[in-house]
Amino acid sequence: MAKRLSAEERRASIITVAKRLFARTGFHGVSIDDIVSEVGVSPAILYRHFESKEELYQAVLQEFSATRESYIEAVVADDIGFEQVLRGMTTVFVSSITNHPDMLKMEMHSQLDSSASQDFFLNRWKSFTDYIEFSLNELQALGKIKPINAQAAALMYQGIIREVLLLKCMQHSDRLKDIPTALLVDEIITLFMKIVEPTR
């Protein structure tokens, strides 16, 4: 028989197990039975905390948002430019994923599930695309950089960072095993900045 836990501890233990299972096989690949048998409780106990599998999935996402990356420190410094903010934001975001790789796995599953949770994950990337698009458009308007398609640049950035995370956090690619994630990301930002050419 499972150890007696407080309601709060029980709820947390269900979320922990659910997170691991959702990351492994996605929302549709996990049943309530899978979760309760792994937690070691009856379905009745699970339903006391969560009305449905959907509600449990939302609770897992909620927990990720609670540890939502804060870009404040990366952006409030004085006289900080586009490149420094981008580097700061990217560092915060990348470490949030390397610390919680289950989040990335759930995101990949959600791409196939066509569930409402897609919005949750899209929204996280929107911070980058918004920031890059707005800043590049603003810099162009001020004549500080040469004309560039800001939307395409933002998409390109998102794609590269996502690929780095996939290779480093999910596939543990041999090809990249000798280069630490932070360093790889740093190099990529340096390359990215080369396409943003200042006007002379």
Binding site: R68, S70, I72, N123
Partner: protein, 75 residues
């Protein structure tokens, strides 16, 4: 509540509302108030942290009709 400048940050995700607010506050003089309207739910925590870090005063933070309104007084 009266304010001296207004910033529309609707539809923008963090950190843009913060960056825009920083710029708008820079244009104010000490004691003046900036009103910000944002839609990103994360902006509530963000503006609290922003004020703590920058020393400006968060006079109010309220939700109305899916938008979030903040009043910040420049220190």
């Amino acid at each position: 509540m009266s304010f001296d400048a207004e910033l529309d940050a609707k539809g923008l995700n963090c950190p843009l509302p913060i960056l825009r607010a920083k710029k708008a506050i820079g244009a104010l003089t000490s004691g003046q108030v900036l009103k910000i309207v944002a839609t990103d739910p994360g902006s509530v925590k963000d503006f609290e942290a922003f004020c703590k870090q920058t020393g400006n005063e968060l006079l109010s933070s309220a939700e109305a009709g899916g938008a979030f309104e903040f009043m910040i007084k420049k220190s």
